[in-house]
């Protein structure tokens, strides 16, 4: 069964249709790339899936349940986590605290647990710390635990944001341009990280402009242009699709990536 089903989803801002009648599905265990030129509606689609704002029309199902109209925090609790195109970390918190916050949806201690430090609260804090340590290590951030997040190098911040998203134990992870602004070796690291995330059994929906990364890491691609889906298929099919080539490059031949 499809993990995520997006059915005829539309979103307009004022009179401008940012996304119109887009449908696709994400299958369990795959890495699906969402590509398209700037302004094609990719991030808008992420915001619709995570319910940052409601769709103008259409429906979204996660594990068969309707999720449009829910609050974003409920979506996270159901198993969809995300990162942001322009990194949104809790800058004055340490790297460790950022990931611990990410664990919020999978922990439950309330006011009295926190104040009285009950046995179950302390056991839960210990589990949060353990899980946090594992994720920071997985993302290559061991040794940076006590660093203020806002002062980490850019590449580390990207990976910390992914660690925070994974802390909620998502079934589906939405990555919004994880390799943006990165050099070649950092991009290779991101490639490896996406593969290890998939190894954890997490399905990935990826927005990315770096075509060499997208072609290597994705099982399938969905291509958007001006808010509409213009193509869908394996990287090989998309590479040869004349409509996609035109959307990216216009009619002239060029070897640009994005």
């Amino acid at each position: 069964m499809a993990l995520l089903q997006v059915v005829n989803v539309s979103k307009s801002f004022g009179g401008l249709a940012a996304v119109s009648e887009v449908s696709f599905t994400v299958d369990e265990g795959e890495v699906l790339g969402l590509i398209g030129p700037n302004g094609a509606g990719k991030t808008t689609l992420f915001n619709l899936i995570t319910s940052m704002f409601p769709p103008t029309g259409g429906r979204i199902f996660f594990r068969g349940e309707k999720i449009e109209g829910l609050k974003p925090h409920s979506i996270t609790r159901m198993g969809i986590s995300r990162t942001f195109q322009n990194i949104r970390l809790f800058a004055q918190m340490t790297a460790r605290e950022n990931v611990m916050v990410g664990r919020h949806a999978r922990s439950r201690a309330g006011i009295w647990g926190g104040v009285l430090r009950t046995g179950s609260q302390r056991a839960e804090e210990a589990r949060i710390r353990e899980k946090t340590g594992e994720l920071l290590a997985l993302m290559g951030l061991a040794g940076h635990e006590e660093f203020p997040a806002g002062k980490l190098p850019y590449g580390h911040q990207r990976r910390l944001e992914i660690a925070r998203a994974l802390a909620a134990e998502p079934g589906l992870l939405l990555l919004d341009e994880p390799a943006a602004g990165m050099n070649e070796s950092e991009t290779r690291e991101i490639h490896q990280l996406i593969l290890s995330i998939r190894g954890l059994g997490v399905t990935v929906l990826l927005i990315e402009h770096d075509m060499s990364l997208v072609m290597k890491v994705c099982d399938r691609l969905v291509v958007l242009n001006f808010g509409e889906k213009i193509a869908e298929g394996t990287p090989e099919e998309i590479r040869g699709n004349p409509e996609v080539v035109e959307a990216y490059l216009g009619r002239e031949e060029d070897d640009g990536d994005a």
């Binding site: 995570t50 940052m52 609050k71 974003p72 925090h73 996270t76 609790r77 986590s81 995300r82 942001f84 949104r88 970390l89 809790f90 800058a91 004055q92 918190m93 340490t94 605290e97 611990m100 916050v101 990410g102 919020h104 949806a105 999978r106 922990s107 439950r108 201690a109 309330g110 006011i111 647990g113 926190g114 104040v115 430090r117 609260q121 839960e124 804090e125 949060i128 006590e146 925070r164 909620a168």
Partner: protein, 315 residues
């Protein structure tokens, strides 16, 4: 044994310092989620009037009056906190300041309940009540080497000290728990906090009503310390005074407003000998703070250096 050095006046100043510390913590609790509420003078008056009316008119025992006063203030905090979700920054500050004024005007005009502008007198005083209760068992402060007025002031001081320390401990522990992390996350980036699975609506209203509850608690204790309250005790001057505790002491850590409240309550008393000029010095101090240490005296890096740890907050 003699306790002649135990001056009731000094104890009273110390008691007012402790009440102000509670108020300083109350503004911090709400500010921890990035919400600047100037309504705490209003919530304080709700706590004070509730307990004063219940104990003077309805014969409710004082501890129950204080508890009900705090709870009613906390409940009003929920009612104000929900519409406050729509407001941010200076707009929230203005709206909550307006709320405090509305409460005060209601207390002035609802004369049958509140005594109007004259206020409520002869509110049971904590120290005197305890002395009277102990007197029935045959106890006399003289056996401890204390005069009656010394015993009364000392009792009030000790009760307030216990209440203040417990409140500080409560919120310090809360701030280094899952709930406290959610509060900080909301203050730093509300969208990212929501995406991290935090129910921002719930935690913002929770923080708002916790601040209101603590203000009401401080207000009820205030009523039973002075034994007289009137609307003049809860004007916007009080609201601004509470804000200044956080601005001066620092608003990034709980201990900031605690320090601010202690220092700024003590300074005018210490400077009494230069009478009229003391508020000039108070003002100069505030201006110097704005220039040289805008984040307030206490901030996490300073606490880190003091305790010799790298990260003072959370951990």
């Amino acid at each position: 044994m003699s306790f002649d050095w135990l001056n009731p006046y000094h104890l009273q100043v110390a008691s007012f310092i402790l009440i102000n510390v509670l108020l300083g913590v109350s503004i911090y609790v709400t500010l921890a989620t990035g919400q600047l509420s100037l309504g705490n003078a209003g919530f304080m008056s709700i706590g004070a009037y509730t307990s004063a009316i219940l104990t003077t008119r309805h014969g409710i025992p004082m501890p129950a009056g204080v508890l009900l006063g705090a709870l009613l203030a906390g409940a009003s905090g929920v009612l104000v906190g929900i519409p406050a979700l729509r407001l941010r920054g200076v707009y929230l500050a203005i709206a909550t300041l307006g709320f405090g004024e509305v409460v005060r005007v209601v207390f002035i005009n609802w004369e049958t309940l509140t005594g109007g502008a004259v206020g409520i007198a002869a509110i049971p005083q904590m120290g005197r009540e305890i002395l009277a209760a102990l007197g029935k068992t045959g106890f006399s402060p003289q056996t401890l080497g204390l005069r009656n007025n010394q015993f009364i002031s000392l009792t009030v001081f000790l009760i307030l000290l216990a209440a203040t320390l417990l409140s500080i401990l409560f919120f310090l522990r809360l701030s280094s728990s899952r709930v406290g992390r959610a509060f900080s996350a909301i203050r730093m980036d509300e969208t990212a906090a929501e995406a991290a699975g935090i129910d921002t609506t719930y935690f913002k209203v929770l923080a708002f009503s916790q601040g209101a509850l603590l203000s009401g608690f401080a207000g009820a204790l205030f009523a039973h310390t002075t034994s007289y309250i009137s609307p003049a005790d809860f004007t916007y001057h009080r609201a601004v005074e509470i804000l200044v505790f956080a601005v001066f002491g620092g608003s990034e850590h709980l201990l900031g407003p605690v320090f601010g409240a202690m220092f700024l309550t003590l300074i005018p008393e210490l400077l009494r000998f230069i009478s009229e000029y003391r508020y000039i010095i108070y003002g100069i101090l505030l201006v110097l703070m704005m220039i040289f240490r805008p984040q307030g005296v206490i901030d996490p890096p300073l606490l880190g250096r003091l305790t010799g740890r790298k990260a003072a907050e959370g951990a």
